[in-house]
C-alpha cells in the first residue's frame, strides 16, 4: 500500500497562509524600499509632465490615449509614478527636450525601439517598476530573458494594435510567430490545435514571461498543462499506460502534425517504437500489402485507427477488465 504524503492539503494551506502573513507583515512594518539605480536615470533629468511631451508627439498621444496604460495613468493613477504618464515609462524628460533630435542625446530618455538603442536591461527595469511579480515572477532566468529579449520585443504600449495585452501584432499568436516560425508551420499541418482558427492562443499553454517549467509551460509538467483542457485524460485510471502518465508528448506533437490526432508518427509504427512483445502482433512488420487494396490480406492493425481499433482506451481504462485498454 502506498503511504500518504506528509504534505497534506491542510498542512500546505497552513504553510502558505503563514507565508502570506509573513510577507504582508514584512511589507507593512519593514516598509522596504526598492534599490535605487546606481546611475541616475536619463542623466539625472527631472520630470516635465506629459503636456510637454504631447506638444511634439500628438500622433503618438492619439493612439496612446486608447491604451490601458493611458487609462490607468490619466483616469485613475495610484501613485506619483503613474501620474507622470509618459515619463513613468520613458523616464524624466528634461534632458531630452534640451536636444530631442541628436542621436547622441538618446541617453537622455529611455526608448523601446532598436533605433533608439536603450540597453535592454534598462528597458526591462522600467517595465518592471509596475509589472514586477505576478505572472512575471520568473522572468529572470527564463529562456526569453536569456535570449536578451526586451518587453517591447513583444509589446507595443503606445498603440492598441491588439485586442488585449498591448502587443506588437494584432494577436498573441501572430506576435509569437515573429520568432517561432516553426510552430507557425506546425499549426498549418493536417491536425493542429485550434490556434489559427482563433479559438486558442499560445498563452493558453505557455507563459512567455517565465515559468518554473521547461518551454515556459504554465503547468508544472507537460501533462498538467494538457489536462487544463483535456481533463478527461487526467484520470487516474484503474489501468494506466506508462508513457501516457509520463508525458503526452511521447506520442503527440502539441502544435500540429502531418498525422491524425497530432501524432508524432503514423500508427501502428508509433506504438511499435515501444511494443515489441511476443504476444503475436505487436512486432509484426505491417506493410503496404495489408492496406485495403494493397494486394495482400487486409489488416485491421493498419487501417483506420490502427492499434486503437481495439486498444481504444489507450489513455487509460477504468473497466476492471481493461488491462489491454479495450473497454
Amino acid at each position: 500500500m502506498n503511504t500518504p504524503s506528509l504534505f497534506t492539503f491542510p498542512r500546505l494551506g497552513l504553510a502558505l497562509g503563514a507565508l502570506a502573513t509573513v510577507t504582508m507583515v514584512t511589507s507593512i512594518i519593514a516598509n522596504p524600499k526598492a534599490p535605487t539605480p546606481a546611475v541616475p536615470l536619463n542623466g539625472g533629468a527631472t520630470y516635465i509632465g506629459e503636456a510637454v511631451c504631447i506638444a511634439c508627439h500628438q500622433t503618438q498621444n492619439n493612439h496612446f490615449a486608447h491604451t490601458v496604460h493611458a487609462n490607468a495613468f490619466r483616469l485613475n493613477p495610484k501613485n506619483e509614478k503613474e501620474k507622470v504618464s509618459c515619463e513613468s515609462c520613458h523616464g524624466p524628460g528634461s534632458n531630452h527636450i534640451k536636444d530631442p533630435i541628436s542621436p547622441g542625446n538618446r541617453v537622455s530618455l529611455v526608448g523601446f525601439t532598436k533605433e533608439w538603442g536603450t540597453p535592454v536591461p534598462l528597458q526591462t527595469q522600467m517595465c518592471m517598476q509596475c509589472h514586477d511579480g505576478g505572472q512575471r515572477m520568473f522572468w529572470e532566468g527564463s529562456s526569453h530573458a536569456t535570449q536578451n529579449l526586451s518587453c517591447s520585443d513583444c509589446h507595443n504600449p503606445m498603440a492598441k494594435v491588439s485586442a488585449a495585452g498591448l502587443l506588437k501584432k494584432a494577436s498573441i499568436n501572430e506576435t509569437c510567430y515573429t520568432c517561432h516560425q516553426q510552430q507557425r508551420a506546425e499549426f498549418a499541418k493536417r491536425s493542429h490545435m485550434p490556434v489559427s482558427d482563433g479559438k486558442m492562443s499560445c498563452v493558453d499553454c505557455h507563459n512567455p514571461h517565465g515559468s518554473t517549467s521547461r518551454n515556459l509551460l504554465k503547468g508544472d509538467t507537460v501533462n498538467e498543462t494538457c489536462y487544463s483542457c483535456h481533463a478527461e485524460k487526467r484520470g487516474p485510471f484503474l489501468w494506466e499506460h506508462a508513457p501516457v502518465r509520463d508525458n503526452c508528448l511521447s506520442c503527440h506533437n502539441a502544435h500540429g502534425s502531418n498525422h491524425d490526432k497530432l501524432l508524432n508518427v503514423a500508427r501502428p509504427f508509433l506504438c511499435q517504437q515501444c511494443h515489441g512483445n511476443a504476444g503475436g502482433h505487436q512486432a509484426n512488420l505491417f506493410n503496404s500489402s495489408g492496406i485495403l487494396g494493397g494486394g495482400g490480406a487486409a489488416n485491421i492493425r493498419i487501417m483506420s485507427h490502427s492499434c486503437q481499433n481495439c486498444h481504444s482506451q489507450i489513455h487509460g481504462s477504468n473497466h476492471p477488465a481493461g488491462a489491454r485498454f479495450q473497454r
Binding site: S150, D153, R234, F269, S317
Partner: protein
C-alpha cells in the same frame, strides 16, 4: 455552476470584495488559466482589413529589429462620442451575407469553425468609459448563432477592479463520413438500425452484408462535438501592492466521436467503430493573491478542476455472432453477445495549491532568490462495472460463491476506483551578480508524481478453485492468495467474450495472466548552474550545466539521469542585425534496463515457473524482446543547435532567418527507436514602405526522421531442455534465452527496420494597400506535408516471399496539401459605414492509407463468411475545395 461549487465560489467572491481597494499595482495578469482569447476563424480577416493610421511615424523596430505593426486608424480625440452624462463610447459592427461553398461539409473544412452560406453577424464591439471616474464597459462578440460564436463583456474601474464574463463555442468535427449502424448516437445506449440483428444471425455472410449495406446507406453521418466555455473572472487591486483574482469557468462538451471496440481476448475479433458519446462538464476555479513591492513578490494560487462525465458507460448492440471463449462452460451461449459495454472516461477532480516567492537581495551581489512550491491532488472514484453484463458465465474448475457472479460487482476486488495521484513541486533559484558583467544562477527543481492508489487486483474474491494440488488428495475448494486477497485470479475481457483467468493446476497454469494493475510514480530532480556574461553593451554569452534525474517506479529503468550543457550567444549590435545562436548537448543514461519489470503484475507472481524437463515455460519467460528499449528511458546522446538572425535590410524592409537542427541517438537501443533527427529553416520578409502599404512573406521547411527497429516474433514454444542457438533452456536461463534477440521467439532473420521521414513546407504571405478611401488586404498560405514510412527486412523473415512483392520497401506516402487565401476590399460608404467584400479560398488534399477504400468497403473481411477483420465505419478525411465570398457591412461609431 453546480451545487458542489456554488457555496465555495460565493464565499470567495464575498471575501475578495470585503478587502479594501486602495491600490498601486496594474491589472495585467489575465494570463492565468486557459481561454485567453475570444474570436473565431473570421476574426483575423476582419481586423486585417482595417485601414492603418497614415499619420503614424515611420517604421520602427523592436529592440530585436522586427517592425512594429502599424496601428489602425482611430478617431481624433475631439471626435470621440459622448453621452450627456459624460461617458465616452465607441463601437463597431460587421454583418452581411456569405455565399458560395461555405456550406461545405468536409470534416477537414469544419474541424474548428462553422462558416455557412447565409447571413452573418460577424463581429461587434462596444466600449464605454467615464473619464471622470475611470469606469469602463467593453463588449465584444462574433459569429452570432453559429457553432463558433463568442461573446465577452468586461467592466470595472481602470487600475482598480475588473470583471470579465465570457462565452465561447468551439466546434470539433471528427468525421462527416461515418457509416452509422445505430440509433441513439450521442447517448450511452446504441440500438441497431432495423435490418441488423443484435447478436448476429446464423449466417455471418448475411451479417456482413447487412452491416455493409447499413453503413453505406448512412455514410453521411457527422460525428462531432462542441465545446461551450463560459466563465467569469474578477480582478481586484487590494491593499497597496496586493491584488487578487477569482475566476470560475464551466465548459460543456457534447457530441460523439468514433471509438474502437473489439471482442474476444483482444485478438482482433470483429472490431467495430462505435460512436462514443461525449457529455462532459468541466468546472475550473481559480483564486489567487499577488503581492509585489519592488523587493519581494509573492503569488498564492488555488485551483480546482472538477470534471464530470455525464454518461458513465456506453452500451451498444452488436450485429455479429460472437463465439464464446474457449473454456467457458455454460454461458454465454451462441448468440448471447447481443451487446457490449464500454466504461467511458470517469469523472475526476483535481486541486492544486501553489505559492511563488521572490526576494531581491540588493546588498548581496545584487542577487535574488526565488522559490515555488506547488502541491496537487487528482482523484477519481468512479463506481466499477462488472466484467460482463451476461449472467451465468461459468469457468472450468471455478466455483462461484454467492454474490460472486461475473456479471455482479461481487466479482470485483473493489467497488470503486478509489484512485489518487499527488503532485509536488519545489523550485529554487538563487541569482547573484559577482561582477557588473556576470550573472550566475543556481537552480534546483524537484517534482513528484506519486500514485497513491492501491493497485487494482484482477481477482474474483467470491470464487474458489475446484482443483487438485500435489499435497492434497482429491479436488479442493480454495482460492489462491496474493497481496492479501484470496480468490480466483484474472479477468474476463470484452464482456466475457475473452478468457484471461488463471484456471489453476487442473487447467495448466500460466505465467502471463494480468492480475494486478500497474501504478506509476516518478520523481524528478533537476539542478545546475547557469551564467550570463555581458561581453559589451550589445552582446551576451550564456551557458548552463544541468543534471536531471528521474526516478520511476514500475518502469523498465528505475532511474535515468541526463546531463545537459548549453552555450548561447546573443548580439544585438551586428550592424542592423540581431544574432542569436545556441548549442546544447545532452546525454542520458540510466540504471539497468529490466524488461521484466512487469513480472510482479502477472500470474507468474503466483505460480512459479515450472522446472521439469519438457515443461512449457513460454508464458513465464517470454514477454517482450529484451533488446527493445522504450525511447523515453533509453540512453540518448542529443545535439541541438539554433541560429536566428533578424536584420533590417533597408528602411522598411526586414528579414528574419532561423535554423534548427536536432540529432538524437539511442546507443543502447538495438531495437526500438534508435535515431531521431530534425532540421528546420525559416525565412520571413516584412516590407513596409509607407503607412499605406505593407507586405510580408514567409517560408518554412522542416525535415524529420525517426528510425526504429524490432523483431517480429516467431511462433514457438519454450520448453525446459530445448536446444536453441543461444544454448539449452534451463529454469535459470529461460528468460534470458526466451526473450532475447536471436532466441527462438525473436530470430534475427525476423528483424526489420522502419524509417519515418517527415517533410513539410509552408509558404505564405500577406499584402495590404490603403487607397485614398478604400483598403485592400490579402493573406495566403500553402502547406505541404509528406510522411514516408520505409522499411528494410529479410524476405522469409518479417515478410514471407509471397508478400514481399506486395510489401515493397515502403508504405504509400501520407500527404496533406492545405491552401488558404483570404482577400478583403473595404470601401467606405459614409463617415460611419463601409462595406467589406471578402473572398476566401480553401483547399485541402489528403492521402492517408489508413482509410484507403474504406468508403466503398467499410466491412473489411478476408472471407464474407467469416467475422470481419473489422467494421471500420469512419471512411476518413475527404479532399475539399471551397470558394466563398461575402459582402459585409461595417458600422463604426
Amino acid at each position: 455552476m453546480n451545487t458542489r461549487t456554488l457555496p465555495f465560489a460565493a464565499a470567495a467572491v464575498a471575501a475578495l470584495f470585503s478587502f479594501s481597494r486602495a491600490t498601486a499595482a496594474p491589472l495585467a495578469d489575465s494570463a492565468v488559466g486557459t481561454g485567453t482569447v475570444l474570436g473565431n476563424a473570421m476574426t483575423q480577416s476582419t481586423r486585417a482589413a482595417e485601414p492603418r493610421d497614415p499619420e503614424w511615424q515611420k517604421a520602427k523596430h523592436t529592440p530585436t529589429g522586427q517592425m512594429f505593426e502599424l496601428p489602425p486608424a482611430i478617431p481624433k480625440p475631439e471626435a470621440v462620442k459622448k453621452f450627456a452624462n459624460g461617458w465616452e463610447y465607441s463601437g463597431s459592427l460587421e454583418f452581411g451575407y456569405i455565399g458560395g461553398d461555405a456550406d461545405e461539409r468536409s470534416a477537414q473544412f469544419r474541424t474548428y469553425s462553422d462558416p455557412g452560406n447565409e447571413a452573418h453577424v460577424n463581429t461587434f464591439n462596444f466600449t464605454m468609459r467615464q473619464p471622470k471616474t475611470g469606469h469602463f464597459v467593453e463588449l465584444t462578440g462574433g459569429g452570432a448563432a453559429r457553432d463558433d460564436q463568442y461573446y465577452g463583456v468586461e467592466f470595472g474601474r481602470v487600475n482598480d477592479w475588473k470583471v470579465k464574463l465570457y462565452y465561447s463555442e468551439i466546434p470539433h468535427v471528427f468525421t462527416d463520413r461515418y457509416g452509422r449502424l445505430w440509433n441513439g448516437v450521442g447517448t450511452g445506449n446504441l440500438t441497431l438500425l432495423p435490418g441488423l440483428t443484435p447478436g448476429g444471425t446464423a449466417s455471418t455472410a448475411a451479417d456482413n452484408a447487412a452491416v455493409q449495406a447499413a453503413a453505406l446507406a448512412n455514410q453521411n453521418t457527422t460525428l462531432a462535438l462542441k465545446r461551450e466555455r463560459m466563465g467569469a473572472r474578477l480582478d481586484v487591486n487590494l491593499w497597496t501592492n496586493w491584488k487578487g483574482y477569482l475566476s470560475y469557468a464551466l465548459e460543456k462538451r457534447q457530441g460523439s466521436r468514433p471509438l474502437g471496440s473489439v471482442w474476444g481476448l483482444g485478438g482482433g475479433t470483429a472490431p467495430i467503430e462505435v460512436p462514443e458519446p461525449v457529455d462532459y462538464d468541466t468546472e475550473d476555479i481559480l483564486a489567487g493573491l499577488m503581492f509585489a513591492d519592488g523587493l519581494t513578490a509573492l503569488n498564492l494560487r488555488f485551483s480546482a478542476s472538477l470534471f464530470k462525465n455525464n454518461i458513465d458507460t456506453l452500451t451498444f448492440q452488436e450485429p455479429y455472432r460472437i463465439a464464446p471463449p474457449a473454456g467457458v462452460t455454460t454461458n454465454p451461449a451462441v448468440g448471447a453477445y447481443t451487446q457490449g459495454r464500454i466504461d467511458l472516461t470517469p469523472s475526476n477532480t483535481a486541486y492544486n495549491l501553489r505559492a511563488e516567492f521572490t526576494r531581491k537581495l540588493p546588498d548581496f551581489h545584487r542577487g535574488f532568490l526565488s522559490l515555488a512550491l506547488s502541491a496537487g491532488e487528482w482523484r477519481q472514484d468512479d463506481s466499477l462495472i462488472p466484467y460482463t453484463h451476461i449472467p451465468g458465465v461459468a469457468l472450468p474448475n471455478v466455483t462461484l460463491l454467492p454474490g460472486g457472479g461475473w456479471d455482479s460487482a461481487g466479482s470485483l476486488s473493489r467497488r470503486s476506483t478509489n484512485a489518487k495521484i499527488e503532485t509536488r513541486l519545489a523550485d529554487l533559484t538563487l541569482s547573484l551578480n559577482p561582477t557588473a558583467a556576470l550573472n550566475v544562477k543556481l537552480k534546483g527543481r524537484f517534482h513528484e508524481t506519486k500514485n497513491a492508489t492501491d493497485p487494482y487486483l484482477a481477482v474474483n474474491p467470491n470464487a474458489v478453485y475446484l482443483d487438485a494440488d500435489a499435497a492434497t488428495a482429491g479436488n479442493q475448494s480454495r482460492g489462491l492468495t496474493f497481496d492479501g486477497v484470496t480468490g480466483v485470479w484474472g479477468r474476463l475481457p470484452n464482456d466475457a467474450s475473452g478468457n484471461s483467468v488463471l484456471l489453476g493446476n487442473n487447467a495448466n497454469p500460466n505465467g502471463n495472466t494480468p492480475i494486478k494493475a500497474p501504478t506509476f510514480d516518478s520523481k524528478q530532480h533537476r539542478f545546475g548552474p547557469t551564467a550570463d556574461y555581458r561581453i559589451n553593451k550589445t552582446s551576451t554569452l550564456n551557458g548552463s550545466l544541468e543534471r536531471e534525474v528521474i526516478e520511476r517506479t514500475q518502469r523498465e529503468r528505475a532511474r535515468t539521469w541526463e546531463d545537459r550543457a548549453k552555450l548561447g550567444y546573443v548580439n544585438r549590435g551586428l550592424g542592423a542585425s540581431t544574432v542569436r545562436l545556441s548549442y546544447e548537448y545532452a546525454q542520458r543514461r540510466g540504471t539497468e534496463y529490466r524488461a521484466s519489470t512487469y513480472d510482479g503484475l502477472f500470474s507468474s507472481a503466483i505460480f512459479p515457473m515450472p522446472t521439469a524437463a519438457g515443461a512449457n515455460v513460454t508464458s513465464w519467460a517470454v514477454r517482450t524482446n529484451t533488446g527493445m528499449r522504450a525511447f523515453d528511458l533509453s540512453d540518448r546522446n542529443q545535439h541541438k543547435g539554433n541560429l536566428r538572425v533578424d536584420t533590417m535590410l533597408r528602411p522598411g524592409l526586414d528579414a528574419g532567418v532561423s535554423f534548427q537542427a536536432v540529432q538524437a541517438r539511442h546507443p543502447d537501443a538495438a531495437y526500438g527507436r534508435s535515431r531521431n533527427d530534425l532540421r528546420s529553416a525559416n525565412l520571413d520578409l516584412s516590407w513596409q514602405p509607407s503607412p499605406k502599404q505593407s507586405a510580408h512573406l514567409f517560408y518554412s521547411w522542416q525535415w524529420g526522421r525517426i528510425t526504429q527497429s524490432t523483431i517480429a516474433n516467431a511462433n514457438a514454444n519454450l520448453t525446459i531442455g530445448l536446444v536453441t542457438p543461444l544454448g539449452t533452456v534451463t529454469p535459470a536461463n529461460a528468460i534470458a534465452i526466451g526473450a532475447a534477440p536471436g532466441g527462438p521467439f525473436f530470430p534475427l532473420i525476423n528483424a526489420w527496420t522502419g524509417r519515418n521521414e517527415e517533410r513539410s513546407q509552408v509558404f505564405g504571405g500577406g499584402f495590404r494597400q490603403d487607397f485614398k478611401a478604400a483598403s485592400f488586404h490579402a493573406d495566403f498560405s500553402r502547406s505541404i506535408g509528406r510522411s514516408r514510412i520505409a522499411y528494410d527486412y529479410t524476405i522469409g523473415g518479417a515478410i514471407n516471399a509471397a508478400n514481399a512483392p506486395l510489401a515493397g520497401s515502403r508504405m504509400p506516402d501520407l500527404a496533406t496539401d492545405v491552401d488558404l487565401a483570404d482577400l478583403s476590399l473595404r470601401v467606405p460608404l459614409s463617415t460611419g459605414w463601409a462595406v467589406r467584400f471578402v473572398y476566401r479560398y480553401q483547399r485541402e488534399v489528403i492521402r492517408d492509407w489508413h482509410y484507403y477504400n474504406l468508403a466503398a468497403t467499410p466491412v473489411v473481411s478476408a472471407n464474407v463468411a467469416n467475422l470481419p477483420t473489422g467494421a471500420l465505419l469512419d471512411a476518413g478525411p475527404t479532399n475539399f475545395r471551397v470558394d466563398w465570398y461575402g459582402a459585409m457591412l461595417q458600422l463604426k461609431f
